[in-house]
């Protein structure tokens, strides 16, 4: 490779020792001999390109496979493995073999394992770094297969890991009650720390608010010129008392009437201010009263807290339902919400530039901004894929037919919702029929996602009964899940139904207490399962509600057997909470009553005095005008 300018053969070197006494080499003198292009440089360039082409031929598939694994893992938030990848540049197609996506919620399981996957790409969008898939063929899919090595956790930083973390936090926010079956007679005393009671905290805060309200009202009242106005009016009336209007003359009488009118106007203005203050005092008093009601609400929550503290069994069927099925319901909905949130991230609505983290490299990654142009190709578009999949083993073995339409990274460009459906109809395995459908509508400003899963004749998983050494084995039954996420409003329903419910005692069964034995006896006599769960509300703080035939049975049985004991214990708990809360809340109540009474009294006094003064001024004017003029 040339390191400097090429020199025509036969020419002297451009740079040489400086001539004696000479200056620097003269660029001007060299200029005519310089050529702009160094055509010899093309040879190493061609060699370099040939080398790149050779490397591409030898290693492109390997490089692309590794990139696909890395990008896929980052995008999905779970490990993606690809056994082999072949990129056909001429036909712009990719053949992948042995694709495995680890279950983000279980590192030892694969969510999906695809033996062969063929992707046919449109060539033109590739020049814009866009992927438009015209044909997708998937062959031999297996689900829920065990992994030989556990999936490595995905490093934090990308959206998917943070979404996964958020979902785990999301699941923790639910207050799933415990199915407590502690014998009542073991409750000797209730040790409650007042600092743990929210009603006490609320009462103390309300007390401070009452003090501040009282100070503010007093300050507002004293700032009113009540006494000054009354004194001024009184002085005027005293000055005019006994004065004969005839001695004043016309001008004097006119001035006197004007003085009275001014005094009257001051009284009226003050009355208006007093009425304003009365309104403020009423609002403040009502707010404090509402605070007292909030303390009572907090007290009810404290009853429940204290009951949980001493593990009093609840007779409320929804509580028992949540205790029995809460965790399993949250797990199911959590997974559905995770995938929906992921879809929202990768299919955002609108056409605004979308920033995302730049590619990982030694240098700083920076931010990559995707600019979307109307009527252009989206960065990714799968127009339609029809998939026939045979799951060869595992509980879900059988034939599946699936279709995906308009899957894209820029739904606003496509203008249509993404639709997908997977259906199965085959007997003889763990599922008789399965239908999964979904609509991801991100074309408008408010995304709306709907996912429904219906499984019939499905081998329902066993689940443990919290607090009892038993597992419920629902056997074959039906399950349905419908999740709607409109904007940030979540509405998820999950139902389970089985006619062949069996009960399996734990192998290391411990000795049960009286209540546990009774509940176990009742439960194990129940032959069927019918459960409906709902998680609804804002995605950040949804509410869980569950009802089932099991919780109704357990609640009834508990009530009939230990109802009176529990009621007595509850009364004890309430009394203890009341004594602690009343100690702090009673002075606050009294303080609020005082604030209201003081404000009412002061306002009433002021009104009386001002009304009396106004009457006096009115009478004085009448006297001067002989009843012809009245104060306004």
């Amino acid at each position: 490779m040339s390191t400097a300018g090429s020199v025509r053969s036969g020419d002297a070197p451009v740079y040489g020792p400086p001539a004696a006494g000479g200056g620097p080499p003269n660029d001007q003198a060299m200029k005519p001999r310089l050529a702009i292009f160094r055509w010899k440089g093309i040879i190493p360039l061609i060699l370099g390109l040939a080398l790149v082409a050779t490397v591409w031929l030898l290693f492109a598939d390997r490089l692309l496979r590794s990139s696909a694994e890395e990008a896929g893992t980052r995008a999905l938030g779970t490990e993606l493995d690809v056994a082999t990848l072949h990129f056909d540049l001429v036909h712009t197609s990719i053949q992948l073999n042995g694709v495995a996506i680890a279950d983000p919620f279980d590192a030892r399981r694969n969510l999906l394992e695809v033996k062969q996957l063929f992707v046919q790409l449109e060539p033109e969008p590739l020049l814009e770094k866009k992927l438009v898939i015209t044909r997708l063929t998937i062959g031999d899919v297996r689900t829920g297969t065990p992994r030989s090595t556990p999936a490595r956790p995905v490093a934090a930083g990308g959206f998917a890991p943070s979404a996964l973390h958020e979902m785990q936090q999301w699941a923790k926010q639910f207050d799933v009650p415990l199915l407590s079956l502690t014998p009542i007679d073991t409750i000797k005393s209730i040790a409650l720390d007042p600092a743990q009671l929210s009603s006490i905290k609320a009462a103390l805060a309300l007390g401070q608010r009452a003090d501040s309200t009282r100070t503010n009202l007093q300050r507002s009242f004293t700032s009113l010129p009540l006494q000054a106005t009354l004194d001024s009016s009184h002085a005027l009336l005293t000055r005019l008392q006994g004065v004969n209007v005839r001695t004043l003359g016309l001008t004097g009488a006119r001035n006197a009437v004007a003085d009275i009118r001014r005094a009257s106007a001051r009284v009226d203005s003050l009355k208006t201010q007093i009425e304003g203050l009365a309104t403020s005092a009423k609002t403040a008093g009502d707010s404090l009263q509402a605070g007292l009601r909030a303390v009572d609400d907090a007290r009810r929550a404290d009853y429940e807290f204290a009951k949980r503290l001493i593990k009093l069994p609840s007779f409320d069927a929804p509580d028992i339902g949540s205790a029995l099925f809460g965790k399993v319901t949250i797990d199911k909905v959590q997974q559905a919400v995770y995938w929906t949130e992921l879809a929202r991230q990768y299919m955002p609505p609108g056409l605004l530039p979308k920033p995302s983290p730049g590619p990982p490299r030694l240098r700083a990654s920076g931010t990559t901004v995707h600019f979307v142009r109307p009527q252009a190709y989206p960065r990714f578009l799968l127009r339609r894929a029809d998939v026939d999949v045979t799951v060869s083993d595992g509980p879900g073995r059988g034939k599946y037919v699936g279709a995906v339409q308009d899957a894209t990274t820029e739904p606003a460009l496509v203008g249509k919702p993404m639709l997908f459906a997977i259906q199965r109809a085959a007997n003889g395995s763990a599922v008789d029929s399965l239908r999964i459908t979904g609509t991801l509508d991100h074309a408008g400003a408010r995304p709306r996602d709907v996912l429904t899963v219906q499984a019939g004749g499905m081998e329902l998983p066993n689940f443990p009964i919290p607090g009892l050494p038993y597992r419920a084995a629902p056997g074959r039954g039906n399950s349905a899940l419908r999740l709607t996420l409109a904007g940030d409003q979540l509405d998820a329903h999950w139902s389970l139904a089985s006619g062949k419910l069996a009960w399996i005692a734990d192998s290391a069964a411990r000795k049960m207490n009286t209540i546990e034995s009774l509940v176990a006896k009742v439960l194990t006599g129940v032959p069927a399962l019918q459960m409906n769960a709902q998680i609804a509300g804002p995605i950040k703080a949804p509410k869980l509600a569950i009802n089932s035939n099991l919780d109704r049975v357990v609640a009834d049985q508990l009530r009939s057997v230990v109802g009176s004991q529990v009621a007595a214990a509850e009364a004890k708990v309430r009394a203890r909470v009341d004594s602690l809360v009343d100690e702090k809340a009673a002075p606050v109540k009294a303080k609020i009553a005082t604030v209201r009474a003081e404000a009412d009294q002061r306002i009433a006094d002021a009104r009386t005095k001002l009304d009396a003064e106004k009457q006096k001024l009115d009478a004085q004017v009448k006297q001067f005008s002989g009843g012809l003029v009245r104060l306004p």
């Binding site: 090429s6 020199v7 200056g23 620097p24 160094r38 440089g41 814009e128 490299r361 931010t367 190709y377």
Partner: protein
């Protein structure tokens, strides 16, 4: 140590090559792109192509690449900020980037990345000053200490080392 030796050899061979100060200056200005901007990008392919086919000092380009790599790493936060301003904050430029990002081939330049765009812009701004500065430096060097260095024992040792010989095999 080996890297330092190689660097010194590279520096010496460039300064004492047949190249004119203008050629060396242009080589430095072009090679700076390879160090200042993230290397695996399409514009660097163009820079390499220019270094090869234009009658500029290829060695100076390679030397500048080595010198500007740490500078590039250091200035990444600045590049990111400049790129962010150009891509996101300057809304008047959005039509340009939208068109760029949706034009075949141009979209492959990765100019929609803040660090890539910021570093390319900084390089383009620095191109002329780098060229003139390095041209001036070469002229001054050759006028002042160039010949003394050439005659020095150190230079002779350096020139006699294996690396220099390897370099000479490929010299035109």
């Amino acid at each position: 140590m080996l890297a330092l030796l190689k660097f010194l050899q590279s520096l010496a061979k460039t300064l004492h090559s047949e190249g004119t100060p203008t050629q060396i200056g242009l080589g430095v200005a072009l090679g700076a792109a390879l160090g200042l901007t993230p290397i695996m990008n399409a514009h660097n392919l163009v820079v390499l192509l220019l270094l090869a086919v234009l009658n500029v000092s290829f060695g100076a380009g390679m030397l500048a690449w080595g010198i500007f790599v740490p500078v590039g790493f250091m200035l990444d936060p600045l590049f990111d900020r400049i790129g962010h301003w150009l891509l996101i904050d300057a809304t008047s430029l959005r039509p340009l980037w939208t068109a760029w990002d949706n034009t075949p081939v141009l979209a492959l330049t990765n100019f929609n990345n803040t660090v890539v765009l910021g570093s390319v812009i900084v390089w383009l701004v620095l191109f002329l000053p780098l060229w003139l500065a390095s041209r001036f430096a070469v002229v001054r060097y050759r006028v002042t200490i160039g010949e003394r260095v050439r005659e020095s024992h150190f230079y002779k040792v350096l020139s006699a080392s294996q690396f220099y010989n390897v370099y000479r095999w490929f010299r035109p």
